[in-house]
Structures are given as structure tokens and as C-alpha cells.
Amino acid sequence: MAPAAAVDREARRRAWWLCAPALALFLALMVVPLVMTFVLSFHSFGFYTGIEPTFGLHNYLDVLGDSYFHEIFARTFGIALVTTLLCAAIGTPEAYILYRMRSRWRSALLLVVIGPLLISVVVRTLGWAILMGNRGVINTALMNLELIDRPIKMMYTPGGIVIALVHVMVPFMVIAVWAALHRQDPATEQAAESLGAGPLTIFFRVVLPQAMPGVLSGSLIVFSLSASAFATPAILGGRRVKVVSTTVYDEFLNTLNWPLGAAIAILLLVAVLLVMVSYNRVVERRFSQVFG
């Protein structure tokens, strides 16, 4: 009979074999390409010579030393931050309202609220472009009602991008809060009510604190997806309101300066990872005692 240790070793080997095909795909198509991109970001580029396999930090220095890029990065993270705050502000109450609904209504509304997640971002952004154009649905309606006499500029503004991004991202917030609400004991609300708390007090003093881990994890998802969003800023901002991802796109497919584009992308990756890690740190420190 095989001793227990050999059985364990056998089980471990089998586990690795089961993961091997997926791992092979990821090594070949995630790890290798990312390393190649990292290397690419140190190369240089000339208009006539193309990509030259030199090795230096000049692309990074170009980006970090140029106020043009500073502005793009600042705008990107500004848009992401405002989008996140808005998503938290409207997604959290919506999740709670859905959570309190009768189950028949709830399934139908859940379909409407988080279903758009499955519909192409291009299509959804197209809808916002039609709504927000100078002669778009919103401006036409407001002018017909004679509330304004000149169209409000929404296309090609950061504000317009934020509105459409909130639409794209808020389902993630609803989902995260929804999941957190389902982990709480419904009796805590009844307990608060029996002690004389009104609906708003219950929401702010009992529900929200328990749902906070969901709000925070939802915020992290929304922020990192917004910071690297491409389709929405590309369609609604075009060349006029550039963000990091559209800049990378231009460098790769228009200017053809791949090394510079790679450096910008790597900086975005690093920034997003830094935000995630430090955010997790802070959140964990804050909540580990309560929710361990």
C-alpha cells in the first residue's frame, strides 16, 4: 500500500497537471507579451529608422518630464475618481432599494440595472453620443422647452465622458454592494427598527456600515476600469479630450511610436497597481478588526 505521503505527492502532481494547459496559455500569451512590452518601452524610435533595439529610460523621461503627458494622466485619474464617487453615491442606494424589493420585481429590475453590463460598451457609448451631441436628444429637448437658448456642450468634454462612464461602471458597484448586503444578517435591520430607528437611520447606521466592504471593493473595480477605459473616452472625447488609453492607441496605430506608447502603458499599469495595492492596505487596516 502507498504511504500517505506518496498519496499526497501524487495528488499535488495531479493538481499541477490539471492546471498545466491553462498555465501554458497564460505563460505564452500573458507573461511573455507583457515582458516583451516592458522591454519594448526601453527601445527608441525614429521616423525613418523605425524601432531601434536600444536600451534606455528616455521614453519614461519624456513622459515624466512633459506637461502635455502630466495633463493627460491628471485628466485620466480625475475622470476615474469622479466616476467612482458618482457610482458609489448612486449605486449604493440603488443596490439597497433592489435588495428590499419583492423578489418578482427584483429579478426584473436587476435585469435592467445590471443587464447593460453585457451589452457592448461601443453600443452604449453610441447611445450617449446620440443623447449628448450639440443637436442631440438632450439639447434638442431642452431647447424645445425653451429652458436654454444655446446647446450645452457635452460631447468632447470630460463631463460627458464621466456621465457615460458612470453608466458603464455603475452595475459593478451595484453588484459589489448587493453581494455585501446579502452577507449581512437581515435581523440586524429588524433589531434596529425594534429599537426605534427610522428608515434613514437604519440605512446610515446599520446597513451602510455593513455594506461598506462592498462599496469599497466596488470602488476599486470602478476606479481601475475607468482609469484604463478606452471605448468611451475614444468615442466621446476623440482627439480633443485625450486620456491615457487613447494616447497609447494613437502612439501605436497613428504615430507608430510603439516604444513611447509602451512606456505610457507601463506607467498606467504601474499607477493602477499602486492605487490598488495601497487602497487594499488602507481598507484592510481599517476593516480587519470588524470584518476579519
Partner: protein, 266 residues
């Protein structure tokens, strides 16, 4: 369940309006008989849906997206199910690292993945090929399948498998007759979610297509950045209807909330 107050219901109505508005507008615009965008449409006409038939490049892109979604979702499912079985039920050295690797496409910004795939595929000569697209999409959608299959694997009562084994079933029989049927909802749900994700994917795909392998989102995107006309609205309407159809299938088979919330809430 407690009732929501009038204020909550008003908030909910506005929220639903906000979520539905761009989709309603797209569908409304697609029905116009005119040659320009107008909302609400002055009449109802299917003129712009007929116009799709005169644009074979859109139709071709649609087929490419469909094939690509099926191929990538199937490949990714075939890789993710065994991995989920190992990760979901065994502790072994390197397990957490493997899981983190397989989930990493969710953390790495898609734009970064896009240029990385472009660089890699053009170096090995696969750029713009259907094979290259399939492999890249399989990577991006793996986390979605893995999450759902993992949820069903960890929810599985292992004594059920032991019962089958004690009745004389071999490892493979246990997998085929017991384990697979029990995790099947997760596998199917994961496949559909992965298919939709692949079908909608733009940010990565825009870097690695060439004119003969252009997908529908890329084709739409390129068109919209030039001009918005009722034609893109009608094509978008078809996309919306197709996705909504899939959503109903999911809702029937698996539950949309379970699919999107990740198997834990119900």
C-alpha cells in the same frame, strides 16, 4: 421583505431611466425613415435594417465575432474546468499564485494587454489572424469562466463523489457521470458569459485585427469615430437584441444575478 418608501421608488425610477436611456435612444434612432439621426423618430421604418444587408463588411464582421466568441469561449472553458477542479478542491504549493495568474486579466488594464498582444503576435507573425485573436480572447475571458466554475466546484458536496466511488465508479466515470453534471450550470453559465465578453471586446481587439478579421465592435467603433448615422444605430439595435436574447437564456438556465454576482448571492 419590507417595502421601499416613495422617495426610494422615485430614485429607483430615475436610476432605471438613466440605465435605459442610451439603449432606448439607439433603438429609437434606428427606426427612423430619415437619412439622419432623429429622436423620437418621425415615423417607423425598417429602412436602416435593410441597409445592413447592403453593407457586407458589417455582416462579415458579425460572423467573425460570432465564430471568435464560440472558439475562444470553448477553448477557455476546456482549459478552465480542469484548472478549477484542481484549484477549487486541493491545497497545493503554488495554488494561490496560479489563481492570481489566471485572474490577472481582470487587473491588468486591457489597453496594456492590447499592445502586449500586438507586440507579441506581430513578432511571431500571428497578428491579424483568427488563431491569434482566439488565443488572446481566450486569455481575457478565462477569469470569467474560472470564477463561475470555481464557485460551483467549491459548492460541491464531495461526499457525493465518494459515494459514487464506493459504488465502484472509476475516476473518469466519477468525473463524467457525477462531477461534470453537478458543475454543469457553472460551466454553461461561464461559457455564455465568456462568449458575450469576447463578442463585445473592443480595447484589445482593436490592436490585433486586420481588415479581413475585423470584429463587429471594432467595425462599429471605426465607423462611429468617423460618423454617427442611423446605420450604426440599426446595427447596434441588432447587437442589443441579440444580447438581450442571450440574457434571457442565461436567466432561464442559470440566473442572471448569480452569473454576474458570481455565484454567492441569491
Amino acid at each position: 421583505m419590507t417595502r421601499n418608501g416613495p422617495f426610494a421608488l422615485l430614485f429607483n425610477a430615475l436610476f432605471v431611466l438613466f440605465m435605459a436611456a442610451p439603449l432606448v435612444v439607439v433603438i429609437g434612432v434606428s427606426l427612423t425613415p430619415e437619412g439622419f439621426l432623429e429622436f423620437p423618430p418621425s415615423g417607423i421604418s425598417l429602412r436602416w435594417f435593410r441597409a445592413i444587408l447592403d453593407n457586407p463588411d458589417f455582416i462579415e464582421a458579425g460572423w467573425t465575432s460570432l465564430y471568435l466568441g464560440v472558439a475562444a469561449a470553448s477553448l477557455s472553458t476546456a482549459l478552465a474546468v480542469p484548472a478549477a477542479l484542481a484549484i477549487g478542491r486541493r491545497r497545493f504549493p503554488g495554488r494561490d499564485l496560479l489563481l492570481a495568474t489566471f485572474m490577472s486579466p481582470l487587473t491588468v488594464p486591457t489597453i496594456v494587454l492590447g499592445i502586449a498582444f500586438l507586440r507579441f503576435l506581430s513578432q511571431i507573425g500571428l497578428s491579424g489572424t483568427f488563431l491569434g485573436l482566439t488565443l488572446c480572447h481566450a486569455v481575457i475571458i478565462t477569469p470569467f469562466i474560472l470564477r463561475l466554475v470555481l464557485a460551483s466546484v467549491t459548492g460541491l458536496d464531495r461526499t457525493v463523489e465518494k459515494a459514487a466511488e464506493s459504488l465502484g465508479a472509476s475516476d473518469f466515470t466519477v468525473f463524467r457521470r457525477i462531477t461534470l453534471p453537478m458543475i454543469m450550470p457553472g460551466v454553461v453559465g461561464g461559457w455564455v458569459l465568456a462568449f458575450i465578453t469576447s463578442f463585445d471586446e473592443l480595447t484589445v481587439t482593436v490592436f490585433i485585427v486586420n481588415p479581413s478579421t475585423t470584429t463587429l465592435p471594432v467595425r462599429l467603433f471605426n465607423h462611429i469615430t468617423q460618423t454617427t448615422d442611423p446605420l450604426v444605430a440599426s446595427i447596434s439595435t441588432v447587437v442589443i437584441l441579440f444580447t438581450v436574447g442571450l440574457m434571457f437564456v442565461i436567466e432561464r438556465l442559470y440566473g442572471l444575478d448569480r452569473l454576474l454576482v458570481g455565484g454567492e448571492a441569491r
